[in-house]
């Protein structure tokens, strides 16, 4: 179906089901319960899961397939966001032109940066991309303030022209991003017993776009072009010696990957119409590397899992504070309660980076293939338990490409 083999078709189907049922899956705890702290099913975070998933999928096309580690991918994310916000300012609040322009502009930007950076490989390539991204950040932060809004970020204003759309709502406010009248921030709350599930328009728009980009990524992975990229990863010199000129392939991969980042940036702006320069900072570029490695570089689903994991930590773990801990452990005797809270405290709240760092180290040391490898090992364990015979190399439930 759609040029997919059965395995990939199943994978896409599973992801589609997971993504569309996410509002249920991410809110497993009743609203009033103590564990509601761990619910992640609110629109902003769900949108972030998806958007950073797209970002990581795109990054993986470059890093997972060709092995070229770009340390400046956040620049494309930022460029995408700025383009989208400018569309909102000048044209209309419809997200379609915004997202299209975001993809195009970041594609052109990637072409320029890729053309220069790809003259070098390995660590030099990484440093070049990092330098370009930092340069873009510095420009956006200060020199280009009239275009980027500088430190405060690019924002919508009441007096923006918006020539094709509504300039000001009837209530006298700035209109919100929409898809032909369907507002991105509209949500429907469904209450079932003590549970609350939120279905958000923006989330589903992102989800559909992510399914499309995931499908394209799968096709790239399975195409002769993808095979070429893998050849570059395994031995670029040999590819060159056989008479193939590899740079156009690299550049194409770089541009596609940059366009994915631009798409993610455009969607970010579509969900929340603001573009800040921090989006281009090197830590943001590092984050997508972490996501990809944490989830499993070179696998199809890995980057999405990694993105979800990091965003969950950033938004949920970082919000647990001391008061909440004390509430959880109130049933313990006084001294022990304080001890337990003191022990856990460095790892939550503002210490979430520490927890993330530990998880990252554990994953890299014990599961070099990322979370995907963890999943595979668990699967294998189950298969062995059920004593089915075909345990030979059945590790490819989630396809690992490299």
């Amino acid at each position: 179906m759609f040029g997919l083999n059965q395995k990939d078709g199943q994978l896409i189907l599973i992801i589609a089901i997971l993504v569309f049922l996410a509002p249920f899956l991410l809110n497993p705890f009743p609203v009033e319960s103590e564990l509601a702290q761990f619910n992640a099913g609110y629109p902003d975070l769900m949108q972030r899961f998806i958007i950073f998933g797209i970002f990581a999928i795109g990054f993986n096309i470059l890093f997972g397939l060709t092995g070229y580690l770009s340390f400046g991918h956040a620049a494309f994310l930022g460029v995408g966001s700025y383009s989208a916000v400018w569309m909102f300012k000048l044209l209309s609040m419809n997200i379609i032109p915004a997202v299209i322009l975001a993809v195009l502009v970041s594609g052109v930007f990637a072409l320029v940066i890729g053309y220069i950076s790809l003259r070098r490989s390995g660590i030099y390539f990484s440093i070049l991309t990092l330098a370009f991204a930092q340069m873009s950040f510095a420009l956006a932060y200060s020199v280009l303030t009239p275009i980027t809004g500088g430190e405060t970020g690019l924002q919508l204003a009441l007096d923006d022209p918006r020539i094709l759309g509504q300039q000001i709502t009837e209530q006298g406010n700035i209109p919100v991003p929409s898809l032909f009248g369907l507002e991105m921030r509209d949500s429907m709350d469904v209450v079932i017993g003590p549970w609350l599930f939120t279905f958000n328009v923006g989330y589903y728009v992102c989800a559909i776009i992510m399914m499309i980009s995931f499908y394209i990524a799968v096709r790239i992975f399975r195409s002769p072009f993808g095979m070429m990229l893998r050849a570059i990863k395994s031995n670029q010199q040999r590819v060159n010696y056989t008479g193939l000129y590899s740079r156009p392939y690299m550049l194409a991969a770089f541009v596609v990957s940059g366009m994915y980042a631009g798409l993610a940036g455009g969607l970010m702006a579509a969900m929340d119409p603001l573009a800040g320069a921090e989006r281009m900072f090197w830590t943001a570029s590092g984050e997508v590397v972490l996501m990809t490695i944490l989830g499993g570089a070179g696998t199809l689903i890995g980057p999405v899992l990694g993105a979800g994991m990091i965003k969950y930590m950033e938004n949920i773990i970082s919000k647990i504070n001391e008061t909440i801990l004390h509430e959880w452990f109130r049933w313990m005797p006084d001294g022990i309660e304080d001890l337990v809270v003191t022990l856990i405290y460095p790892f939550i709240g503002k210490g979430w980076h520490l927890t993330l760092g530990i998880i990252f180290m554990v994953v890299v040391i014990f599961l070099p293939g990322g979370l995907v490898e963890g999943g595979q090992r668990i699967m294998r364990l189950f298969r062995r338990r059920s004593k089915s015979r075909n345990t030979t190399n059945s590790s490819d439930t989630f396809d690992s490409a490299s």
Partner: protein, 448 residues
């Protein structure tokens, strides 16, 4: 004839299932058909405290959070009541807000507008916060203010000094109690003239971002009005830690005053560099070389140590003030945490109380009612003397303190001394002043 599978029974069954499907959400949804975003329906009201807990302003964020916790205690009738006793409005009586107990959620802005918005969004969407407050930089304040306008909740800005917060980026749902760059310039100018005369040559070092620009502009225009000459203005990258290469050209320029439009770690480093270069011992144009820091804070003075001695700057509030409000606040903050509050803590505490009071007076949490109650609100007893929340731009107008690094500090908190309290009439400006032009307040959004 083509064979079709459509049967009467099929359609009826299908229709029944479909309509049941559409009906389910309406049956189950308790339909939070509230009049405005996050209307508190239970016995509690949730406020969102969005402060930097990591990053360059983490110290200020920690102090802000302490102040908010203290404010919540006082609102809920615990503790000694702090400034609630000296506040000119008596609507608050220690039983929460409108009888609802005040609860709070906290978030980390990381001093990044994206992270701050994500954190604020989760407070609004997940925790049901009815008001967001905090922040320690103008970028964050402006970003979160715009978000709150979209979402239909009130934003009470924390420490934000850029003109833009209530200038070109002002929003109807956002309010700022802190003073701004313009006021710093206007308050400093006369003091500078008295101290250093009116034919000085100034050299500006400006942090290369939004706040730096507005501060430079404000100080420049008010000192040039005195007759000072601006020799040069150089932008320095925000991430710079060593300013020696920027200080060296100052001496050759013939300038005799150095203005450091820096904040936080930037200011600590640039001031230390300047003093190490011996600028303050120099004599240029047969006048003593002087250094000016437009925005001062105690936490910065602490970082710069002995280098701040005798250096002039402006601040929003200082704990050594002797009015009843300040004394009450310092007392209850000191009792609880063992050290005097910073100006960031003060502005945040006051903002929390002002919001609560506005809700009480309006009789509703509805953002539009709160906006109405705060606009043009005139109050006293909050440490800054009589203060007006101007309706046209949601900026507070009050006296501004000009301070100087103390020569002989008696303890680690006693680093600044108040040189002059510049009266409000000297720092007030028309709302269409060129430094604040562009942008529009819009109308309040309640999210309904």
């Amino acid at each position: 004839m083509s064979k079709s599978d459509v049967t009467r029974r099929g359609i009826l069954q299908g229709g029944a299932i479909a309509s049941a499907g559409f009906a389910v959400p309406t049956i189950f949804s308790a339909n939070r058909a509230s009049a405005f975003t996050n209307e508190p329906t239970g016995s509690t009201a949730t406020l969102g405290f969005n402060v930097p807990q990591t990053g360059p302003y983490a110290d200020e964020g920690a102090d802000e959070l302490r102040a908010y916790k203290l404010a919540v205690e006082h609102l809920n009738g615990e503790g000694d009541g702090g400034m609630m006793n000296t506040f000119s409005s008596k609507a608050l009586n220690g039983n929460g807000i409108l009888g609802k107990k005040v609860e709070y959620v906290t978030g980390d802005t990381q001093t990044k507008s994206d992270a701050a918005r994500a954190s604020a969004k989760s407070m609004i969407e997940k925790d049901g916060a009815v008001m967001i407050t905090g922040g320690s930089s103008s970028g964050v304040a402006v970003a979160v203010q715009a978000l709150c306008q979209e979402a239909g909740v009130i934003f009470m800005a924390g420490l934000t000094h850029s003109n833009d917060t209530t200038g070109k980026d002002k929003r109807a749902n956002g309010f700022r109690h802190f003073f701004n760059s313009y006021m710093s310039g206007a308050a400093l100018a006369p003091v500078l003239r008295n101290a250093y005369g009116d034919d000085r040559k100034a050299y500006h070092l400006t942090a290369d971002y939004n706040w730096g620009y507005t501060t430079e502009e404000a100080v420049r225009s008010s000192t040039e009005a005195l007759g000072w000459e601006t020799v040069n203005a150089v932008k320095t990258p925000l991430t710079e830690t060593d300013f020696s290469s920027y200080i060296a050209p100052v001496l050759q320029s013939g300038a005799d005053v150095l203005v450091l439009n820096h904040y936080g770690g930037n200011m600590v480093n640039s001031l230390t560099n300047a003093v190490q270069f011996g600028l303050r011992d120099k004599e240029v144009n047969s006048k003593n070389f002087e250094i000016v820091v437009p925005l001062y804070s105690r936490l910065m003075a602490k970082g710069a140590g002995a280098n701040v001695k005798g250096i002039l700057g402006s601040t929003n509030w200082h704990w050594s003030l002797q009015d009843e409000g300040s004394k009450a606040f310092v007392r209850s903050f000191g009792t609880k945490y063992g050290n005097p509050p910073s100006q960031a803590a003060h502005t945040c505490y006051v903002q929390a109380l002002l919001y609560a009071d506005a809700v009480e007076r309006a009789g509703s949490f509805n953002p539009c009612a709160v906006v109405e109650a705060l606009e043009g609100f005139y109050f006293d007893g909050m440490g800054n003397g009589p203060t007006l929340y101007r309706a046209k731009d949601h900026q507070c107008f009050k006296d501004v303190l000009v301070v100087k690094g103390k020569e002989n500090p008696s303890n680690e908190f006693d680093l600044l001394e108040v040189v002059e309290i510049t009266p409000v009439l000297q720092v007030i400006y028309p709302d269409d002043h060129p430094q604040f032009s562009g942008g529009a307040l819009g109308t309040c959004n309640s999210g309904a």
